[in-house]
């Protein structure tokens, strides 16, 4: 009987992996469902076992079974690890993803699982915290705070009850690394959390997963049940979110677990001292916790030896949007933005020139190709007026309307604001109004992409109507608020509105309680600064020279 390996990752399933798997099972093969390797242009992907090698074919359809099994299929890719996209990676965190059956304890143990936990439990908690400090690991959720220092605070905090909370509320558009890891190697996250529990003296942990990730929720629940004996006395449970982007902010997430509205808490007190249910709490992103087993097993040195400046180790970068070779690319810090977008991503999927990339999700800045020499590093991006965030890179071609994207950033903030602080709650709505006036007043027509990146274009006329669209299908309060101001009482000239937009962004940036209101100005101002021609201002000289 031939063994074949086919991904069960949500992205693979969305591309038809389930149908392919069924076809192979019907043909009498033993089908092993794995996580995804992370290159979606070759999915649905099937790997056929040949001795101790796996020969990959992709993309494939259910009709291709016979040709694959006799080796005549034209889409033969050879061994996955040899493909340039994978050969250039340094897979520390994602080493097992795509290779193992995510719910097989035997597979996990055979591929180096639990070594880190055993080393940690044989050591004093302080020694474990020291190892994490020495590795240079920083918060992979986006804030970049040193993980070891956070753990030290919780270890030193008094009290018998402490918690480990994993932030798996990966709401940023353009990011999917947390989802892929939870679906492809859930025991790795569980092991990381168990190590954290030993290091700080916690007995129970929560994994808060957004409801938009049904596959990850199910996989994590199954994995927790399977590994309960291995991580005892530490216990874990999954909590599903309920559709609120702001719950990715750590204190809003804690309130959500407690059964409240997901509103941001003012700090201090730090969650490390007074977190979940008022107890000392380690709250880390999925990727931060999943990096820990490698650090313990291979040594902090091995992790810290890779990287750039104060950003040590690897970052699972996600290439998304209008990009040819989209997917997950884990690599040491320091690689440039241009290398990621052009060399690895292969430019746009539509074949048109890249005009902008947004790094770090809806709160990240837009960068033009003239800034592609930026090294991927926390400090370098901060200095350039952006953030690496959760390392999602969304690529746009030259059909993008940057004023429209700036408006969307404000619209998204208005829809998702928790409402606790005024700059974010009111400012985002005022921001949408200002952007509407700028878009209405500029000489260039709005050019929302009229056709699809891939596949046939629409025959139907899809010109957007001039009426304002609302993001929420609720009662239209936003709509009423947006158009409640009498335009004859305000200066609607482009210059005045642009100045007003900058002033508003300044208020939001420095006056908001958390990153939602505080960072929404990043995409808005970067769009305005780098693409002024979309806001009715003269184009920068640089773009004209290119």
């Amino acid at each position: 009987m031939t063994r074949v390996f086919i991904s069960r990752d949500m992205a693979s399933v969305a591309l038809g992996a389930d149908e392919v798997a069924r076809a192979f099972a019907d043909a009498g093969c033993e089908v092993v469902r794995t996580g995804s390797h992370g290159l979606f242009v070759i999915e649905p992907l099937v790997e056929v076992e040949a001795g101790d090698r796996r020969i990959a074919y992709g993309p494939v359809t259910p009709a291709d079974v016979a040709a694959i099994l006799d080796g005549t299929h034209p889409n033969c890719l050879g061994e996955i690890a040899a493909l340039p996209f994978f050969a250039r990676q340094q897979r520390f965190t994602f080493a097992r993803c795509g290779i193992v059956d995510p719910l097989s304890l035997a597979d996990y143990a055979a591929h180096g699982g639990w070594i880190g936990l055993d080393i940690a439990r044989a050591a004093e908690p302080q020694a474990v915290v020291d190892a994490v400090k020495a590795s240079g690991l920083r918060g992979r959720g986006g804030a970049g705070f040193p993980t070891g220092i956070k753990w030290q605070t919780v270890l030193d905090a008094p009290g018998a009850t402490k918690y480990i909370v994993c932030n798996a509320d990966e709401g940023d558009s353009g990011t999917f690394a947390d989802r892929m890891l939870m679906e492809g190697d859930p025991f790795c996250l569980i092991e990381g959390m168990a190590i954290a529990a030993h290091a700080v003296g916690a007995s129970h942990g929560y994994i808060y997963i957004r409801s938009e990730y049904p596959f990850a929720i199910q996989t994590m629940r199954d994995a927790i049940a399977l590994s309960a004996g291995r991580i005892a006395p530490f216990t874990l449970e999954v909590r599903a979110g309920a559709g609120a982007y702001v719950c990715g902010e750590e204190t809003a997430l804690l309130d959500s677990i407690e059964g409240r509205r997901g509103q941001v808490r003012a700090k201090p007190p730090l969650p490390a001292l007074s977190g979940l249910f008022g107890k000392p709490t380690v709250i880390n992103n999925v990727l931060s916790l999943a990096a820990v087993p490698f650090i313990l097993a291979e040594g902090a040195e091995a992790y810290a030896n890779v990287g750039f400046g104060r950003s040590r180790g690897t970052m699972p970068v996600q290439l998304a949007g209008n990009v040819k070779h989209g997917g997950l690319f884990e690599v040491g810090f320091g690689i440039t933005l241009g290398e990621l977008v052009n060399d690895i991503g292969g430019g746009t999927a539509s074949g048109r020139p890249v005009r902008a990339v947004q790094v770090g999700g809806p709160l990240g800045a837009y960068f033009p190709p003239s800034m592609f020499d930026l090294p991927f590093d926390y400090e370098a991006f901060t200095a350039a007026g952006g953030l690496i965030g959760h390392a999602g890179i969304t690529v746009f071609d030259d059909s993008v309307d940057m004023a429209h994207m700036a408006r969307f950033a404000m619209e998204f903030c208005a829809a998702e604001s928790c409402g606790k602080c005024t700059p974010c709650r009111i400012g985002s709505t005022r921001g949408v109004e200002i952007m509407d006036r700028i878009i209405a007043g500029r000489p260039v027509p709005s050019s929302v992409r009229p056709e699809l990146v891939e596949g046939p274009s629409f025959s139907a006329d899809v010109e957007r109507k001039n009426s304002p669209s609302t993001s929420s299908g609720q009662t239209g309060f936003l709509d009423q608020a947006l158009y409640s101001r009498a335009p004859d009482r305000i200066d609607v000239s482009l210059g005045a509105q642009t100045a007003l937009l900058r002033d508003l962004c300044d208020t939001m940036k420095y006056g908001s309680l958390c990153a939602l209101g505080g960072f929404t100005p990043y995409p808005v101002l970067s769009a305005l600064d780098h693409f002024p021609e979309d806001f009715g201002a003269p184009a920068p000289v640089l773009a004209a020279a290119e």
Binding site: F40, A242, G243, P456
Partner: protein, 155 residues
């Protein structure tokens, strides 16, 4: 489902799962999964079961996008509106989907057959535009995919 039956469902769940304040979101998820939406008439029962005020439950219920307070259509189409899908032609798909399904974004069609809702990122960002059709992920939505979706929700 009648009010008495719903109350039995809620109280039975609380007896099994506990009545701590942190059970509120899982309880709301359960009610919506079982009944399809969370009617305002159930709020007092939920509040009583967890020893919370009605205002408190109402506040949580209305904060999160997932919870419905009206019945949804027989089919639910959640279409991604986030940046990565926009970069791949999402705005055009959104307009075409509304036209093809005969329902505006955020609304339920008059015949109760389909609800079209926005979702902000499904984590399939390299293969958009994406949607969840009755919980099933669908990627690379184009004109042909919309035809298939329209046929599916007609059933």
């Amino acid at each position: 489902m009648g009010l008495d039956e719903a109350k039995r469902l809620i109280n039975g769940w609380v007896r099994r799962e506990g009545s701590g304040r942190d059970r509120l979101l899982p309880l709301l998820h359960m009610v919506q999964d079982e009944i399809g939406y969370i009617d305002d008439t159930l709020v007092p029962a939920i509040a009583a079961a967890l020893n919370l005020s009605r205002a408190d439950v109402h506040g949580v219920l209305t904060f999160y996008h997932d919870y419905r307070r009206q019945p949804a259509g027989r089919h639910i189409v959640k279409l991604c509106r986030a940046e990565s899908c926009q970069a791949r032609g999402g705005a055009a798909v959104e307009a075409a989907a509304a036209e093809r399904l005969g329902v505006a974004m955020g609304e339920t069609r008059r015949d109760g057959q389909v609800t079209l809702e926005p979702v902000y990122c499904l984590g399939l960002c390299a293969i958009g535009p994406n949607a969840l059709i009755n919980g099933r992920p669908v990627a690379r939505i184009d004109s042909a995919a919309l035809d298939r979706i329209a046929a599916e929700v007609a059933a």
